[in-house]
């Protein structure tokens, strides 16, 4: 990057917080996304606050430098892979937390991780109840930018549904605050739907394409005091899926309701069952693992009993192994990261939502590409809101075998297309999905119009939103 630009950026963040070292650029050329091509940026800056972010974006706009916002670097679908000679704006120094007790909300800087926030909120007996599977390293703002989901989503929906407002720096450097806090006299974040259109929503899942989120305000809830953990076995996917639908129809408070294939569960329990204290068991064709959470005991008991009845009603049987859902929920900051990395495989994922009764289609599609291309993989998922199901296919490969990796890239591309045709929807338009979507011309034209209006120079994370 030009020395003059570096000098201007240094003036903003200070010499210590800008790097153009080869080794540093190399480290920022990748993220937790696997089987991705590394791209060397031209510089990395670590601003301290929104004001510095604003000044940085003004410099970037002046010199037409593409910008990639980045926080935890844990995203899995190439969301923070930079542009050649571009600028990475790393946001981890923005780490303020402000709790609004009366408003049942919390405002966090873009560098605050779920792990840090969880510890903070616990002291106030509240929680931000949706956790990404990478919660120990993922930032809340980053998860808003990718519109994530995870444990807790079965009851509370996707992360986006918990957002009250954002503070964002626009591509020209202007700073805006959305929701009720757009009113400078507002006492804090208390209403997202203010002043007409949902401008907050524009930034959720936008992957930094419309600007950089520097703060987010999130709804928080009283921590559940009472939990029931149980597992339910089914011999057909219809039975399991109908059970999941009925759990929602009956307002059973399943905070995390997962659906597993028998062989997949067996594979993972072989690897980590013992360390998690999950007893050996011959898992059925489908297992639903559910944690019900309530603030009052009587409601919990009622929910737990009803869940058992519904299971039997749909032809299933109550397995009664509580350790699996217990670990999924109580160990939610660790369980999934351990399961994802305990085996030696690298993998690509393709997060998407289905309807619960279509969950088996995701399984069928991944199995089809596994057979066709000859690789190992799996998918599992969980109820992710009002009536959706989040599936997370993992496609395994050996990173030291380039042919194997290419096979996964090809299979992955095909899988995105076929999943789309099953009616699945991605959380966000990460680069993986660009070639998969079709029949959405008007939608994409409208999206392009928004992008052009907000970011006419197309400098903000240009590789996402299908490269609009």
């Amino acid at each position: 990057m030009d020395k003059k630009i570096i000098a201007e950026l240094s003036k903003i963040v200070g010499d210590g917080y800008i790097s153009t070292k080869q080794s540093e650029l190399l480290a920022y050329s990748v993220s937790a996304s696997m089987a991705s091509n590394a791209v060397l940026p031209g510089a990395v800056v670590r601003p301290a606050d929104s004001k510095q972010v604003s000044q940085i974006l003004q410099v970037a706009a002046k010199y037409n430098i593409p910008v990639t916002p980045r926080s935890g670097g844990s995203s899995l679908q190439e969301e923070v892979i930079p542009e050649v000679d571009g600028l990475v704006v790393e946001l981890l120094r923005l780490n303020d937390i402000k709790f609004h007790k009366e408003l049942r909300s919390v405002t966090v800087g873009a560098g605050v991780t779920y792990g840090v926030l969880e510890k903070f909120l616990k002291e106030h007996n509240v929680f931000l109840p949706v956790y990404p599977e990478s919660a120990l390293v993922c930032t809340v703002a980053g998860n808003v930018a990718v519109n994530g989901a995870g444990p807790g989503s079965s009851l509370f929906g996707c992360t986006g549904e918990l957002v009250l407002d954002v503070e964002a720096v626009l591509p020209d450097g202007r700073i805006i605050t959305t929701g009720s806090e757009a009113n400078p006299y507002a006492s804090g974040p208390y209403q997202r739907y203010s002043f007409g259109p949902d401008i907050t929503g524009l930034f959720i899942g936008s992957l930094g394409s419309f600007g950089i989120i520097t703060k987010v305000s999130m709804k928080v809830f009283k921590r559940h005091k009472y939990y029931d953990h149980n597992t339910f076995g089914f011999e057909t996917h219809e039975q399991a899926e109908q059970f999941m639908v009925d759990v929602k129809q009956n307002d059973i408070n399943g905070v995390f309701t997962s659906l597993y294939e028998g062989p997949v569960l067996e594979l993972f329990m072989d690897m980590i069952g013992e360390e998690l204290g999950v007893p050996k068991y011959e898992w059925p064709f489908r297992t639903v693992s559910m944690t019900i959470g309530r603030v009052r005991e009587d409601l919990l008991k009622s929910d737990a009993e009803l869940a058992k009845k519904l299971c039997v009603k749909h032809g299933g049987h109550v397995i009664g192994i509580s350790q699996l859902p217990y670990q999924e929920w109580n160990g939610r900051l660790w369980f999934f990261v351990r399961a994802c990395y305990v085996h030696g495989w690298h993998w690509r994922t393709l997060y998407h939502h289905q309807t619960p009764t279509n969950a088996h289609r995701s399984v069928e599609e991944i199995r089809r590409v596994m057979d066709k291309y000859g690789f190992l993989g799996h998918t599992a998922g969980f109820a992710s809101g009002h009536s959706s199901f989040n599936a997370y296919p993992h496609l395994y490969f050996d990173p030291q075998d380039l042919e194997d990796e290419q096979k996964i890239r090809d299979a992955h591309k095909e899988l995105a297309k076929t999943l789309f045709k099953t009616g699945a929807v991605p959380f966000k338009m990460a680069p993986y999905w660009a070639d998969a979507i079709e029949g959405m011309d008007n939608y994409m034209t409208f999206l392009e119009l928004i992008k052009k209006t907000i970011d006419p120079k197309k400098l903000m994370n240009p590789r996402v939103l299908g490269g609009l």
Partner: protein, 387 residues
């Protein structure tokens, strides 16, 4: 000597799937309140913690990055504390891998590393030209210590040359416990810092020489007060160099049964003290010695043992390990100051440890923040409370 298998190392490094949990995970259930002390106390770029370092290591090993001192800098700005290993969700040991990377890439220029190795090989210690002075403290203990015997007190370079009070205290405590022990006439360096910084061939030569000198004592048991010496003599000499060395114990391990059996009697501390224990990385995470020093401290009448927020497997490092104190002294002291703040938070009167490197660096950290907490080696405390 066990040589690094490059294929195996590459396979291990490939276990890192860049999740980034090794940066700043705060996870109360496992005791973590942050992970990497370097990331926390530096400008915090990606190469300041293990995920970035592994990317740099892979690029250097694969030839994607030129092998220059600047490009390899991040490989050395690491204390090798192993906190990343403690929390890593994958099945490999990142800190151990980095040590191997340093070994394989030890032709990349690094003046600090080379100077330390040269001094050790020439002088048998990294600090002074005249190694014989390291036994001077013996003249001040008030009794003779022979140079042959079954129990050898291996003082270590830092206690022998920089912190002789610890050596004297250890001698007094051992004598009070009725232990006939010996100290070498001219003790060699164990070579720990050479191994950690990648100079393993040189370390092996040093180890063979050291073992010969140790053998002159006729020792059947070696006790040490330095956690670095412990790991090196107990683990590296055997596993890495295949050397046959007598049993090696840290003095806290050695003394615990003597206290419990009543052979070592301790009096009540002059006044009630709130003491916290800093786990040296080489003693704790590396060798799993967590409870012995705590039990020893609790055996001092009147002592109240309190824990810092991070302790045992998740304890934050003092900042002096892995050669960092020599490579970037300012950063090492900043990390020490951060650790002292942990002790300040729980309002401890004393922070005790069992490693002269930790003690030395924590003292500098205390000075940096103006802390009044006393930094002390556990042996100093025991010596003060002998009946």
């Amino acid at each position: 000597m066990t040589e690094v298998d490059l294929d195996e190392l590459m396979e291990n490094l490939a276990q890192c799937r860049r999740c980034g949990i090794c940066r700043n995970a705060v996870y109360e259930d496992k005791g973590f309140d942050g992970v990497c002390p370097v990331w926390k106390n530096s400008a915090g770029f990606e190469t300041s913690f293990m995920r970035g370092r592994i990317q740099v290591a892979l690029a250097l090993l694969e030839g994607r990055l030129e092998k220059t001192e600047e490009n390899a800098e991040s490989l050395f700005s690491c204390t090798l504390c192993g906190n990343c290993t403690s929390i890593c969700a994958a099945e490999f040991d990142p800190a151990k891998c980095l040590e191997s990377v340093r070994e394989i890439l030890n032709k990349i220029p690094n003046e600090v590393r080379d100077t330390i190795a040269k001094k050790i090989l020439e002088n048998n210690n990294p600090y002074v030209d005249e190694n014989k002075t390291r036994r001077d403290w013996v003249k001040e203990v008030g009794f003779d210590i022979p140079s042959t015997g079954e129990v050898l007190y291996f003082t270590g370079c830092t206690a022998g040359l920089k912190l002789p009070e610890t050596a004297k205290a250890t001698a007094k405590v051992l004598k009070a416990a009725g232990v006939d022990f010996t100290v070498l006439e001219e003790e060699p360096c164990c070579g720990s810092v050479m191994i950690r910084t990648g100079m393993v061939e040189e370390a092996k030569k040093n180890a063979e020489n050291a073992l010969k000198m140790i053998a002159t004592s006729g020792a059947k048991t070696i006790v040490v007060t330095c956690a670095g010496c412990l790991k090196t003599l107990r683990e590296d000499y055997k596993e890495r160099f295949g050397l046959d060395i007598p049993e090696v114990l840290h003095v806290v391990e050695y003394l615990k049964p003597l206290i419990e059996s009543g052979k070592l009697k301790l009096k009540k501390s002059a006044d009630s003290k709130k003491i916290t224990w800093h786990d040296p990385c080489h003693l704790g995470r590396a060798l799993g010695v967590y409870e012995e020093p705590r039990d020893v401290l609790k055996a001092i009448p009147g002592v109240e043992l309190v824990e810092m927020e991070t302790n045992r497997e998740a304890a934050m490092c003092c900042g002096s390990g892995g050669g960092l104190r020599s490579y970037d002294g300012d950063l090492a002291k900043k990390i020490a100051a951060d650790r002292m703040n942990d002790a300040e938070e729980i309002e401890a009167d004393i922070i005790a440890t069992a490693c002269p490197f930790c003690e030395h660096n924590l003292k500098d950290g205390a000075d940096r923040i103006g802390s009044k907490i006393r930094v002390v080696d556990i042996l100093d405390l025991l010596a003060e409370n002998l009946k």
